[in-house]
Amino acid sequence: MSKGGFLDTGVLIGYCFTVDSHHQPCKEYLNDDAVLPFTSQTVEDEYKTTKSKVNTRYADSVRLHISDVKHSNIEGQLDPMDINQLQTEVLDRRNELHSVLSAFYDRLDQFIHYDELISKLEALERDIETLAIQRKSELDEMVDIWEPKDSHPDVRSALDLHEPDLTICIDGHDLAVHLADETELATANPTDFVYDGQREWILEVTAYVDVVNLTE
């Protein structure tokens, strides 16, 4: 028996941005033949904003480090001292991807040419954006966009959520009302949709049959 699965923005982000951790449970959920996955335009818009603000910013952080490396006096064939200098002096501790770039240097060959180092860093920042672009493309093949038919003011006023989570929750509730199959809310944002009694309250006032936490 099939069921509707309304995905919140967190599921799209988990599926598209993370390499493994949140991607795997989101992928398993989407690969479940029993689930008919949906999003809404509000979810798509929030995802697009988050992609610019988060995913592109991460890639920007790697590019800022590449710029710092180019400003340093390190060049030619690098040895372990050079690698250490890059990691401890050139890599800015305020860089948002500091821990990622530290891990990058930890696994780097201790003897590497400057040009190869730059190529690897470029590959890293391009991988960050490529992963999100390709995963979103996969996701779009699997998911339909639901266009809400009603605004449900009573349910809206009963829910204790901020925008855009409120509209997203209502969009999925509208799907649950109109879809022949039972519908659940699938979330990777348990803080807003699951914890502190939110799950129970959402089930109380909406037509969802379940709120599934995909981060567990």
């Binding site: 967190g10 982000i13 941005f17 993370t18 390499v19 493994d20 951790s21 949140h22 610019s52 988060v54 592109t56 910013r57 991460y58 890639a59 920007d60 590019r63 800022l64 590449i66 710029s67 180019k70 400003h71 948002e96 991807l97 821990s99 990622v100 530290s102 891990a103 990058f104 696994r107 690897k120 470029e122 590959a123 890293l124 920042e125 391009r126 991988d127 960050i128 954006e129 490529t130 992963l131 672009i133 390709q134 493309s137 944002n189 803080t191």
Partner: protein, 303 residues
């Protein structure tokens, strides 16, 4: 009293004595001759005639709304732009300037036309950025553009013999263009607050330019892509930051448009990157640091 000042007299004399005076002086050429003459007057005679100038893309232009414009006409030209010609009816008394100013301007017009009358826009741009570029970054991107323009039209290969920076020691076209791109990265004025806001956007553009270079080797596309960025940079920063004598209402209009221009370019750039990265194979570098990366993503989203 004449109704025009020294800036207008300079512009009028340039049009009056230009060899193409019968209405064939293109807009960009006229603007650049006017601007170069203004610099010459200031640098050599200490005479400030206040030609309203601003930096746009690869050189300086004159802001026409900030002068009294009716000493010339600018009908559509056969080549699609505007052809400038002087008002032939004007008398010397129409210009409110001293005899000394008139002599210095006349002498400067001769100097300018002797040197530049037969030169085209790229030559004038090159002269301007080499002498007057406000910083090393502007000089670096202007050199790259000039270099990209020297292409073999059949093969679209950049002609290395036109490289103006032999110290780059590049073995082929690609290395040469990469060296120019590196020069831009190094000279970007990131400590200047106005430029700092666009540092990430510039680095995103830089990486995209390298993707075009590596995956398509299309130097024509690269030249257009450079123009797109420099156009946005000019409208977003350069003409607001590097100008003189421009009327306040014009500056206000530029300020209003600046953020919009940058946002428009940012959206175009995102579309371009998505096209270039969509079919790219993952390299494995992100996979290698996936644990640290996923932790960063998740903790960031939980905030």
């Amino acid at each position: 009293m004449g109704r025009y000042g020294a800036a207008e007299y300079l512009g009028h004399q340039l049009l009056l004595h230009h060899q193409n005076q019968r209405g064939l002086v293109p807009k960009t050429v006229f603007h650049k001759l006017w601007s170069i003459s203004d610099h010459h007057l200031s640098d050599n005679y200490g005479l400030d005639v206040s030609v309203p100038r601003y930096w746009y893309m690869y050189g300086e232009m004159v802001e026409e709304q900030s002068v009294t414009q009716d000493f010339y006409s600018a009908p559509s030209a056969p080549w699609g732009g505007q052809a400038y010609k002087p008002d032939w009816e004007l008398e010397p008394s129409d210009f409110d300037i001293s005899e000394e100013e008139r002599n210095l301007i006349d002498s400067t017009v001769k100097w300018t036309l002797n040197r530049f009358e037969r030169r085209d826009t790229p030559y004038l741009e090159s002269y301007q950025y080499q002498l007057y570029a406000p910083n090393g970054f502007i000089r670096a991107y202007s050199e790259l553009r000039e270099h990209l323009q020297h292409r073999d039209l059949d093969t679209q290969e950049v002609l290395t013999q036109y490289a103006v920076r032999p110290e780059f020691d590049a073995e082929n076209n690609r290395e040469l263009v990469e060296a120019y791109l590196d020069e831009m990265v190094i000279t970007f004025p990131e400590t200047d607050d106005d430029f700092a806001e666009l540092h990430e956007l510039f680095l995103r553009w830089d990486d995209t330019a390298r993707l075009i270079l590596n995956e398509r080797q299309d130097y024509g596309e690269l030249e257009e892509f450079l123009d797109e960025f420099i156009d946005a940079l000019s409208r977003g920063i350069l003409k607001l930051k590097y100008n003189t004598g421009v009327a306040e209402e014009v500056l206000e209009q530029w300020r209003e448009e600046a953020d919009e221009e940058i946002a428009k370019f940012e959206a175009q750039l995102e579309t371009r990157r998505t096209e270039l990265l969509r079919d790219r194979e993952m390299s494995g570098e992100l996979e290698g640091v996936s644990e640290a990366y996923d932790e960063t993503v998740i903790s960031n989203l939980e905030e």
